[in-house]
């Protein structure tokens, strides 16, 4: 087992949103995540980086129990959200996911109108009592998703008709609409062009004011641009976790250094 280099200096315990202890994930016989312990702060962007297949996406999906939808996947260890174990038997993943929203690699708007895409979450969670409430939520979410100006005139056009970057911002707005506390983003820009990427990155920076954001990315530049904390994963292990600036300028683990300088990956 490797040592994990975590730098804990100025973090206040009250700010810890998610705390994972000794998490193991198995896919059938494959041990995909090994002994990962990490603490994710509130109102902060945390980036997970690492080479392909290092387990960063798998670990991300553990944080809102999306792995439950995969039959052969098994999770051990403890993940606390606001000091409650999300893998406790009494926890309903549905309720959990309302608090921990997720945005996916490929924009996946539902084949419905833009309005219905946003309204979907609030409707199933009963966040609106009236059409007027819903209208307010939709507008607010689309504004927060930085896409309101582009779609306000065609709220009832299908969401699939938007451009890739717009679709992804729509998906972020959709996730925001359910009032989550944490937003998980799984390589949200990998299917987008540079301009759309810049727009989404800007949006992520804004979202930090209200949410705790965890982003998986394969782009180190992106991690450096948007995140305050960075975790480096390698072969299922969490190798190093700390302030983004420190990880990129002065990594402690030789593997982190090799990855950042481009020798592994």
């Amino acid at each position: 087992m490797y040592d994990v280099h975590t730098h804990r200096a100025e973090t206040n315990v009250d700010d810890i949103k998610i705390s994972a202890n000794d998490v193991q994930v198995y896919y059938g016989d494959t041990h995909a995540i090994k002994d990962v312990s990490i603490e994710i702060e509130a109102k902060c962007v945390t980036a997970f980086i690492g080479p392909s297949g290092c387990g960063k996406s798998t670990f991300l999906r553990c944080l809102n129990r999306m792995n439950d939808t995969i039959d052969i996947c098994r999770v051990e260890g403890q993940i606390l959200l606001d000091e409650e174990d999300i893998y406790d038997k009494r926890v309903d993943p549905v309720q959990l996911r309302a608090k921990v929203g997720m945005v996916f690699q490929k924009p996946n708007p539902f084949p419905k109108s833009i309005y219905d895409n946003i309204a979907y979450g609030p409707r199933i969670h009963g966040l609106a009592n009236s059409k007027a409430d819903l209208d307010v939520i939709v507008e607010k979410s689309l504004r927060r998703g930085a896409i309101w100006d582009e779609v306000k005139d065609r709220l009832h056009a299908p969401g699939t008709g938007l451009s890739g970057g717009q679709q992804q911002r729509l998906c972020i707005a959709r996730a925001v609409a359910t009032e989550p506390e944490v937003l998980l983003m799984d390589e949200p820009c990998s299917a987008l062009d540079p301009i759309a990427t810049a727009q989404v990155e800007e949006l992520i920076d804004e979202l930090r004011q209200d949410y705790s954001v965890v982003i998986v990315t394969h782009s180190m530049q992106q991690a450096a641009r948007v995140s305050q904390k960075t975790a480096f994963f390698h072969l299922g292990n969490l190798v190093e976790f700390g302030e983004t600036g420190k990880i990129f300028t002065n990594p402690e683990d030789p593997r982190t250094e090799s990855y950042i300088t481009g020798r592994i990956g």
Binding site: M66, V94, A98, G101, V103, N108, G121, I124
Partner: protein, 495 residues
Amino acid sequence: MPVFWLILIVLGLAAVGYIIGRQRALASAGGDSRHLHSLPSYYGSNVSIKVMVPAFFLMIVWLLAQPFVIEGRVSGMIPESEIREGSSASLLMAEVRRASEGLENAVAGGFMTDEEARNARADLSDVTQRLKDAGQVVTNTITQPILKAAQAHRAMVKSSNLYMSIAVIAIAVAGVFWGLAGAKADFRARNVVERSIRWLLVAAASIAILTTIGIVLSLIFNTVEFFRLYPASQFFFNPTWLPSFGGGIDADGNPLSKLGIIPLLWGTLYISLIALAVAVPIGLFAAIFLSEYAGPKTRAIAKPMLEVLAGIPTIVYGLFALLTVGPLLIGVFGDDGLGWMQAGTAVMTAGLVMGIMLIPFVSSLSDDIINAVPQAMRDGSYGLGATKSETIKQVVLPAALPGIVGAILLAASRAIGETMIVVLGAGAAARLSLNPFEAMTTVTAKIVSQLTGDADFASPEALVAFALGMTLFIITLGLNVFALYIVRKYREQYD
């Protein structure tokens, strides 16, 4: 069996041609196959193809054309007076054909000499007696002119067969020489052979088109014939279906048979509706459960079990309807129970059983369609905290809706075209009623009963089956084309 021998002769010539062609080509290259353009076998095949294709083509055309030419000539010999009341020229022709075959068989069996069979002044009673001795079917409608026509028919068939044999063998032999002309080292035998094979493949693929043309033509010709004998307005708008046994017309010149399609269409639609009401919810929910909920083990057991239902022949379902479901329903809804049902055969019986038959059809089509909805769609929904059922109802099913509609239309087309279940389970009486426990009948059931009954083939009572078939074909074709279009559009969306 002269045709059989002819085929053997042509095949033999082809085989001989193959060997000679191969040897000639090899010889022209000095015995060294490396100097040939193609492999030696291609030179042989080249000869075989040139022997068989033209010869067999001629033979098929000849055999198809022969009856028309000969019967055209023979029918001129039968005086108009011979065509009796209630009969027709085509029936008489069939009589001639039968007598002609009888003569041929009697000669072959040694009951008659060729001389006697040809003798134009032969005594009718003597000939019929001999035919009977030879074990041939002889009807008492044979008259002197018919016998004469039969004798002429037989003579023409014999000479036509002879000419055909000569022509086919001649063309096959010519084919040998044509092919052997190509048995030279620089001849591109492989290209020629491959081009021929390609044409064979095209021909095989074209059979699909020919089948459709055959269906359309056989329906159209007979339907037109039917509408000549029976007014189309009566067929489409008369609300009664009551064929009279002998046919015929009443004092006003109207046909006695009432052949209105409306009650049949109503029965068809009613039964199909009940079948779909059974099959669609069960099939759809089964598909949803198997694709979204069931673990791999459950799926591995339940899916094949449902598919077994699809592999069971419809006659089995028919018997199940007639002998199991019908009596069961009578027990509940019959006179001993609720008193709604008179007999085991009813719309409900056929509809329920047909619904069972369609369950696997709906479920496997829906299963494919639901699986085609991208996983990303579901993840998006789960990521927002939706439950499985919310995801299915609000994301997966709306996304799959066009495909599912297509699947249901295909199932409807199946239900409308299904025959054996309704023949055995629905009853025979054509009725316009809303009571699902009454016996009704369908388009397909009447096609079977009108064409397997005793009705004369040229009568409107039999020909109506073709008009029914036409209606059936158009309805199902429309449904199929529409459904396939929808499903294809749907698949393109997610490809």
